[in-house]
């Protein structure tokens, strides 16, 4: 139950919600509609849960963030990627009201993060990147404390989460391992079922099973309408759970797209094996490039990079193996491949890692997505084939 401000919500719509009993009170004041909410279906709000515009902050001579603009709609799991020191935590600290931006705006639920932070934090759960809790705190004590601060009983949800995360509720922080401290922070952040979860590298310290459990929890929260801001420097976990990804580098947003858009742009590896004594393939379509091909120079002894590409391919097949990389739609490849005398083809999944690695590796931040060949990676021979033309195996 809270008083919020929703600029995009019309007063008649709010009154309609009032009739359904979702809203306790609705008042119109100028262009704003003020609501005292008991329960409100987020889809009706038609608004960004979190919005930043040209957010800029610097730590004196040290770089902070520059003109960061983000928008996260309700019910999304939003991945916030970036290398260490890129500005992820700084952005999050502005959103949580810890830091005051030098310019730009940051809003959550339509409220200003700096001036109305206390109101916002009623419905936000936050796990910092470097979790440090009071040494005397136990989960049970934390739930007592947060129940009093948040004005509602959080014990049931908290203990349910503790069971899921296999955490002893009466163990004090001073006796906890790093992973258990992380679990405690996660449970305390999620126990009140917040409308927005801000997680700064939440999987650090968790074992793989607990990471899976966390991902499952987050999916459930998103299904129930919560929004998740998932900050990480590990692409794979963002790729596994998020439906939209923004990437920050040197304090600037260099990428903000849906996962589907990114996957469409991401390169894929193709491993093509030709039959013995077959002629060389026809010239490749323009969106396909050759990463490795058998020549008289390299057939006998591949270089280190080539060896990486050829890992998993039997040595006797290597003189007949081509490693290709395709960007964009695979239709042109399929058309080309249909006319080739290959004996085997493996088509890998879109490699977001390759797409993003370039941002990590180059010095200057990119304003547009990269188009050049990314650094060489392990071939996709062990991953299941996504698309296989006739006669091909996965």
């Amino acid at each position: 139950m809270e008083l919020g401000e929703f600029p995009n919500l019309t007063f008649p719509a709010a009154r309609e919600c009032l009739c359904f009993g979702w809203v306790r009170q609705a008042k119109s004041l100028g262009k704003f509609t003020f609501l005292q909410i008991d329960f409100f279906p987020r889809i009706l709000l038609d608004m960004a849960i979190l919005q930043t515009h040209q957010l800029t902050l610097s730590y004196g001579s040290r770089r902070g963030i520059q003109q960061v603009s983000l928008q996260i709609e309700a019910g999304r799991i939003f991945g916030f990627l970036g290398p260490n020191g890129a500005g992820k935590s700084t952005t999050i600290r502005v959103l949580t009201g810890l830091l005051k931006a030098h310019s730009g705006t940051a809003q959550i639920f339509g409220l200003d993060c700096w001036t109305q932070g206390a109101l916002i934090r009623r419905d936000v759960g936050y796990v910092p990147g470097d979790v440090r809790l009071y040494p005397w705190l136990t989960l049970a004590r934390g739930l007592d404390f947060l129940s009093q601060v948040r004005g509602r009983d959080l014990h049931r949800q908290g203990l349910e989460l503790a069971e899921r995360f296999a955490l002893e509720p009466h163990l004090s922080v001073r006796k906890m391992s790093r992973g258990n401290r992380q679990k405690t922070a996660l449970i305390l952040a999620m126990a009140h079922q917040p409308r927005l979860l801000i997680l700064d590298e939440p999987t650090s310290g968790l074992d793989p099973l607990m990471q899976d459990q966390l991902m499952q929890c987050l999916r459930e929260q998103a299904q129930q309408g919560s929004t998740v801001l998932f900050s990480s420097h590990t692409l794979s976990e963002v790729e596994a759970i998020c439906d939209r990804v923004a990437m920050i580098r040197q304090g600037k947003i260099v990428e903000d797209s849906t996962l589907a858009e990114l996957q469409a742009r991401a390169p894929r590896k193709i491993i093509l094996t030709l039959p013995e004594d077959s002629p060389a393939p026809e010239p490749l379509p323009p969106n396909i490039e050759v990463l490795w091909q058998p020549t008289s120079d390299n057939a006998g002894r591949p270089s280190t990079a080539d060896a990486l590409l050829l890992a998993g391919i039997p040595p006797e097949q290597r003189p007949r193996t081509w490693v290709l990389q395709i960007r964009g739609p695979s239709k042109s490849f399929l058309q080309w491949a249909a006319a080739q005398p290959f004996s085997d083809v493996v088509l890998g999944p879109p490699s977001l890692d390759a797409l993003f690695r370039r941002y990590y590796e180059t010095d200057e931040p990119h304003e547009t997505p990269p188009t050049e060949t990314p650094a060489v990676e392990m071939p996709a021979v062990e991953t299941p084939a996504v698309e296989t033309p006739a006669g091909a195996r996965s």
């Binding site: 730590y59 009201g97 810890l98 206390a118 936000v124 910092p128 809790l133 404390f145 948040r150």
Partner: protein, 270 residues
């Protein structure tokens, strides 16, 4: 607010109880022993000439050749052990928000609770005031208990004791306000504590030097100890209005400034 106060209780109750017991014991011991020790102080003055200015600096008045029974009680309220205990507690408590929280990394947890910074500061202030009252009461109780072992002529009247206690309370507020201010200005607890400790040390030093040096006497009004003079209160048996007002003004100014700074500053934990 209840939750925030509970957090303070969970974190500080053991420490405050230990300080209270410590102050109770020290006040009791000093009340019982000081009259006997100071009874022969003129011999000590003869042997160690530096002792007299030191005691003068502590009491705020010249004790003459012999310290009277009542003045010996005043010495109790300015004894370094008593002041150290009270100030140590204050420095420890008042430097927690925000410097201590930032320093130990729990700022993210605390400041991301759904409570405004005003509320956090108000809770911290309530804890500070409550612990101060408790501490002074325990000190007073220690003094009262030990008074029964002191010769009746050497006892202070309840009125005088309460007047001294009010002056000590005002000093407690001033030092606490200053600690809050230094904490609000700093990201490091050690620095905040060091700054307040420096001010207190300078106050003591100035008060001491004012016994010998004219220049020190001229600027002695800057010393916080100049406004805490139990001996004069005991001698005059009057409420030290001006001293208390100055100390309260320092406390109010420092506390208000620290609140304003704390609510406006960025909490930088990186």
């Amino acid at each position: 607010m209840k939750g925030l106060l509970n957090r303070i209780r969970m974190e500080m109750e053991t420490t405050v109880v230990l300080f209270c017991i410590g102050l109770f014991a020290v006040m009791g011991l000093l009340t019982a022993l000081l009259p006997k020790v100071l009874g022969n102080i003129h011999e000590m003055f003869d042997r160690l000439p530096l002792i007299k200015p030191l005691i003068t600096a502590m009491l705020g008045v010249d004790p003459g050749e012999n310290i009277s029974a009542q003045l010996s009680q005043a010495f109790l309220w300015t004894h370094p052990t008593v002041l150290t205990l009270i100030w140590a507690w204050e420095l420890m408590y008042c430097s927690r928000l925000p410097a201590g929280e930032i320093d130990r990394g729990t700022a993210d947890f605390l400041f991301c609770l759904p409570a405004s910074r005003y509320r956090l500061f108000a809770a911290e202030t309530l804890g500070w005031l409550a612990s101060g009252i408790l501490l002074l009461l325990y000190g007073y109780a220690g003094h009262i208990v030990a008074t029964s072992f002191v010769h009746p002529e050497m006892r202070l009247t309840t009125r005088s004791t309460l007047l001294v206690l009010s002056n000590l309370g005002a000093l407690y507020l001033a030092v606490g306000g200053l600690s809050f201010l230094c904490s609000s200005l700093s990201d490091r607890r050690g620095r905040a504590i060091g700054a307040v400790f420096g001010v207190l040390l300078a106050s003591f030093l100035l008060n001491f030097l004012a016994q010998f040096q004219d220049w020190a006497k001229a600027i002695n009004w800057l010393s916080m100890m100049e406004y805490y003079r139990p001996a004069i209160i005991i001698q005059s048996d009057e409420f030290p209005t001006s001293d208390v007002c100055v100390l309260l003004a320092i406390a109010a100014a420092a506390w208000t400034a620290s609140l304003a700074i704390f609510c406006r500053r960025s909490i930088c934990t990186v």
